[in-house]
């Protein structure tokens, strides 16, 4: 079984984790199922994570995304069904975020994507796809499907702190309650958020990772000292909106929020 799995008999609680997957750490706590069921659910989740990592990780030379990045400049590359669906969603999100969510990080309109023939080709050299602001949300959505299918209705998922998903509620509380860490001051909480069947995505810079969000419309990295948190039912939406709001101006922000169903957004500046 990949990763680590631990079951706590007294509280019918299981903890599955992977130290390094999709560039970060993954943890899930689930409550209320037997050891056997929990173990098999974890098995499915961990294998799904590995499968998605193999498809979406652009640092893995054998992944589908790497194959596209390597060959789509010269020729039309055919896509798997799933990758086609993902690209279609990303295209739609690109539109709804006024171009701020852009998996090419430069200009999404410079790719020829044909959903019907399931193929892609880059119009200009130097383009490549990066699903950094999307993949974790997508993985959470897929994992949620596994949990629903297995009738797990109390679970808490932390995907590298930036993507969190609370399913049902804490066994001794009305929600999953989490505090938001101040990225510039270790140990300081800046807010508390309740999640009930809700995901939370955070985007921001940290002292050790200051410039990693690029504004595709200007080509410049955002280096502001801020943190954007977005709460939404759909973890993909939370992910895409938090990344976009990180670089949006006031006007863009209002427009973008009109295009998505989100519960709550908050920008913390430091």
């Amino acid at each position: 079984m990949p990763g680590q799995f631990q079951f706590y008999d007294d509280s019918l609680m299981s903890h599955g984790s992977m130290d390094y997957i999709m560039g970060t750490r993954f943890d899930i706590i689930s409550v209320g199922k037997s050891k056997e069921i929990s173990e098999s659910v974890w098995q499915n989740i961990s294998l799904e994570l590995i499968r998605l990592d193999k498809m979406l990780n652009c640092f893995d030379p054998n992944s589908e995304i790497s194959h596209i990045n390597n060959f789509a400049v010269q020729e039309s590359v055919s896509l798997s069904n799933e990758f086609s669906e993902i690209l279609l969603t990303c295209k739609e999100f690109h539109k709804r975020t006024l171009g701020l969510f852009d998996i090419t990080l430069t200009d999404f309109t410079k790719i020829d994507f044909n959903y019907n023939s399931k193929s892609i080709q880059f119009q200009i050299p130097g383009l490549h796809l990066d699903l950094g602001g999307y993949a974790k949300g997508y993985a959470l959505k897929k994992i949620n499907q596994i949990l629903v299918k297995s009738t797990v209705n109390q679970a808490f998922i932390n995907f590298g702190n930036s993507s969190i998903f609370g399913i049902g509620h804490h066994p001794f509380g009305h929600s999953w309650k989490i505090s938001i860490n101040n990225p510039y001051k270790a140990g300081e909480a800046i807010d508390e958020i309740d999640l009930i069947d809700m995901s939370l995505s955070s985007s921001g810079n940290t002292p050790s990772y200051p410039k990693h969000i690029i504004n595709p419309t200007t080509g410049k990295y955002d280096d502001s000292l801020k943190l954007v948190c977005v709460k939404a039912k759909d973890p993909v939406v939370a992910e895409v909106v938090s990344t976009s709001l990180m670089i949006a101006n006031q006007r863009e922000r209002k427009k973008i929020l009109r295009n998505f169903e989100v519960e709550f957004t908050q920008t913390y500046t430091f």
Partner: protein
């Protein structure tokens, strides 16, 4: 003016004890880690307040003068005699202490009834005869490390110490260095988990030589470089660090392997300028020791590796293997649910990346500013515990109270130095010899 200065120093010594938690509680914990500090109570300080230990200095070269400066700042001590057979050193020392009587033969100094204790800062081959003679003459003795040039001499000193009622100190100053005391207390309290290894090194880029006014003085001045007066890097540098390993583990390694070479300074010296050793404990943990004096990049460190963290005692910082920050609050949640508690757990924030985990957070052992020795000085560092251990010795000269474990620690450390040298010379694994075991050691 002098009075003011004394007050200032007295204050700093009290502050040292206070900072260590002696006065403000925590005494039991502290004594468990550093039993030799139990003589440093405020009551004892009051007891000796109006008295002065009369100290004679045997050896007034650079290290002797360093020690003199320290003693001059100790309110409960005065320097009454100086001895050296090298006139330039004696002259400089005498200028520092014009009222002290001067000698060129240490045996004559030992005959003086007006001396309570002696501070010996001489080449290693002189330690054993001088310490033994001084104890026999009824003097309290403070001697530079290492203990002595050979294992037999060390054992002779240890045996003499068992028979005497005199105070004997060796300059194991890390035992009085605040960051070592606190750091080892943290290790003993479990902060870094089980100790799984020890790594010590001392690097310099220097020939280890002193200028020699005329060729016949070469062996006298550069005594560190010749085998009949020195055991090289092991006794001069490693000794301190091996003492720390023993202090941390409370155990003696049962065997050692090593390689020693003259890598760079091929100038006629007889001692290695490069040593690499592995000491092996019966519980399978090891000390990795390395010293090289033709490259200083790695500096000096006494590093204790624990299952849960790493303690860098020389630089006074520690690191934790699994920082709670990178644990994503999940452990807290597991504990909460286990204890049927519901509160917020710290989790959300910018994406956690493994890179941030590689940049380990360094936590200081002590709060506020503290002194870190870069290990480059051939004479001595400031605030490395030397002043405190000398002050403790001078107190012992007044009270007659022996320093707990100090001779034993010096004996263990020096024995490990000699054992290491033997392993390197013979090119084989050496087990600790039965005849040199003492009750203080556990293997």
């Amino acid at each position: 003016m002098k009075g003011n200065k004394e007050n200032q120093v007295d204050h700093s010594l009290r502050q040292f004890i206070k900072d260590l938690g002696y006065i403000t509680g925590g005494a039991a914990l502290l004594v468990a880690t550093a039993p030799w500090l139990q003589s440093f109570t405020p009551e004892k300080a009051k007891e000796i307040k109006n008295e002065k230990a009369r100290i004679g200095f045997i050896g007034t070269g650079s290290r002797g003068q360093y020690n003199m400066h320290a003693v001059l700042n100790i309110p409960h001590a005065e320097i009454v005699a100086l001895c050296d057979d090298y006139p330039p050193s004696l002259k400089t020392a005498s200028e520092l202490c014009p009222n002290a009587k001067t000698y060129t033969n240490y045996k004559k100094l030992l005959e003086s009834p007006d001396i309570d204790g002696v501070v010996i800062s001489t080449p290693l081959n002189w330690h054993a005869p001088m310490v033994l003679d001084a104890l026999a003459a009824g003097k309290h003795v403070y001697c530079e490390k290492a203990m002595a040039l050979t294992m037999d001499e060390c054992k002779a000193i240890y045996d003499a110490y068992q028979r005497t009622d005199k105070v004997l100190y060796f300059c194991m100053q890390r035992m009085f260095d605040e960051k070592y005391i606190k750091g080892i207390q943290m290790i003993h309290s479990g902060l870094i988990g089980d100790v799984v290894g020890e790594r010590c090194h001392w690097f310099r880029n220097h020939d280890w030589r002193r200028p020699v006014p005329s060729p016949e003085l070469e062996r006298k001045i550069n005594w560190r470089l010749y085998r009949d007066s020195s055991a090289g890097l092991m006794t001069e540098l490693a000794c301190h660090q091996l003492e720390v390993c023993h202090w941390v583990s409370g155990q003696m390694p049962e065997s050692v392997v090593g390689m020693g070479d003259i890598v760079y300074w091929k100038d006629g010296r007889e001692v290695y300028d490069s040593v690499n050793l592995v000491y092996h404990y019966s519980n399978s943990t090891k000390i990795n020791y390395e010293s090289l004096i033709a490259n200083k990049f790695n500096g000096m460190e006494d590093q204790i590796l624990g299952k849960k963290g790493t303690m860098n005692l020389a630089t006074g910082v520690y690191f934790l293997e699994d920082d709670s920050k990178s644990k994503s609050g999940i452990e807290q949640l597991i504990n909460q649910i286990g204890e049927k508690v519901f509160t917020a757990i710290p989790a959300a924030g910018p994406s956690w990346r493994p890179e941030t985990k590689v940049e380990n957070t360094a936590y200081p052992i002590l709060t506020g500013k503290f002194n870190v020795n870069n290990g480059l000085s051939m004479v001595g560092a400031v605030k490395d515990g030397s002043d405190e251990i000398l002050s403790a010795f001078c107190q012992g000269c007044i009270t007659g109270e022996k320093g707990k474990n100090i001779v034993e620690e010096a004996y263990c450390a020096t024995m490990l130095c000699h054992l290491g040298n033997q392993a390197m010379v013979e090119g084989k694994k050496i087990s600790f010899p039965e005849e040199y075991k003492i009750p203080y050691m556990s293997f």
